[in-house]
Symmetry: C2
Subunit: 284 residues, 2 copies
């Protein structure tokens, strides 16, 4: 699989790259960013933190505003930020152009309903195609992969980790959508991508997956108490209850006064990078 | 003087604000950003780092990409990012719409030539009006002010500090234009703002000011060796020679492989914040 370098820039001792490739899974070109820490010069495979972005974002938001490079350089951690949906000619969008569905809002699942099922296959892209491509081109240690994400990307991190427990050895999230089947953003997206039968949604709903027996070794979640989406869309108390019932050790930090933006995410990004680095180091 | 709050967001334990006010100096509304570290809760005046941005930028570029908040929160330092020119109805721009002159390119001087002399008065704005406004609304320690900047903003930091030695107790720059009278960007801007007589330019040229007897206690400058503007526009060797001749202690760091972007600036921002914090602490 070939990879086109869009840009490579030195930063924090490493290289911040942006890359484009033709995706067989989504049937489109896809773009992602990857930070390679200076540790690469030692010539050994490195741990990876996958970061899934939220509604409306591309790889660029966290790459510009996420403040992860200093911590990743210190931890010797590769940081990968994929896009949030397929894009380009022929890719259908929300019929009314809404920002919470369609382009920039793939919800990290494989759609089963037309017209979405042709291009919107972000689960297979994130779990299968992109890791294989990255492993072809960068010195990844496949045994040391962690996953995190923000909002819709927090939903993606939680559900993909719950469904692929051997893949991701560490999991965290910023302000995640924890129960899409119970909140407006998720009901709209899952209803369109997967159809009206809510039973099919449970395989893409972190709280439902935990209720159904899926497990994580442990979990770090930060949320801001001034997040305007907290009560209607995020509902961390549902995750808290599900983890308590299932015995999943959840570190849920309610960060006083923080909102939903990258000003919040960047404030705690270094904590998350270190959380992953500590847990991925155990496997090395 | 009244101040309108555009936004205030919690970040890194402090508050990242964006503010708007009517400027009597520029005859326009002006916008700036200010980060207030959590240290403010102790109730004492705090040191300030002024950061002047480069060509095409507004306050927003460094506010989003500068990665200064963690270091400022740790140092208890206020960080202020003004705009780079007046903007709005009636403000003239480059006749051909070029990005290196006019809007986004005020060069931190008071223009003397029409039509620029009416609004383009960024030196008076940065040195007089904005500090007075900020002191009215925030707990600034006027005895502990440092200044830094990038590219055109590095030129601004150096020249304003050289011309106001009692104002700024610490000075640094990222990839500064050090001798605008000798490089294309500067010759175009100074020629238009100040007229064709190059003698008038020397008061707005760091190397010429040092040659004329102006002094700084010491100076930190970072430049990237892969900066595409290095040889034609920045010419750090001219600053190096002028400082050597004048006996100004210059720490000039040629950072291998770095370019001119915020990926470079953010890599060394924490160093600069600490440099200023150490020197401003001496005055407390």
């Amino acid at each position: 699989m070939t990879l086109e370098t869009v840009s490579e820039v030195k930063s924090h001792g490493g290289v911040q790259g942006v890359y484009r490739h033709a995706s067989a899974v989504t049937g489109t070109d896809m773009v992602f960013s990857l930070f390679m820490p200076p540790e690469v010069e030692r010539g050994e495979p490195l741990p990876v933190l996958w970061y899934l972005s939220g509604l409306t974002c591309s790889h660029a938001n966290v790459t510009e505003k996420g403040e992860y490079r200093a911590a990743c350089a210190e931890a010797g951690m590769i940081f990968i930020a994929p896009d949030t949906s397929p894009r380009g000619e022929g890719v259908p969008d929300d019929p009314e152009g809404a920002w919470d569905f369609g382009l920039g809002a793939g919800f990290y699942l494989d759609a089963t309903e037309a017209p979405w099922d042709h291009h919107y296959r972000m689960a297979s892209y994130i779990v299968d195609e992109l890791p294989a491509l990255v492993a072809d081109h960068f010195p990844i240690d496949p045994q040391r992969q962690g996953i995190s994400g923000h909002s819709m990307g927090g939903h993606g991190a939680l559900t993909l980790a719950l469904k692929n427990p051997k893949r991701f050895a560490a999991v965290s999230a910023f302000a995640p959508i924890v129960a899409p089947g119970q909140v407006p953003w998720g009901q709209k997206a899952l209803g369109a991508y997967l159809g009206a039968d809510a039973a099919a949604w449970r395989a893409h709903d972190a709280v439902a997956l935990i209720e159904g027996g899926a497990r994580l070794p442990e979990l770090l979640v930060d949320i801001g108490t001034a997040d305007p989406f907290l009560e209607e869309q995020l509902r961390p108390e549902l995750l808290e209850a599900a983890c308590a019932e299932a015995g999943i050790p959840l570190t849920l930090r309610r960060q006083a006064g923080y909102d939903h933006s990258y000003y919040f995410i960047s404030s705690f990004m270094a904590d998350h990078v270190r959380w992953h680095a500590e847990r991925l180091a155990r496997r090395s």
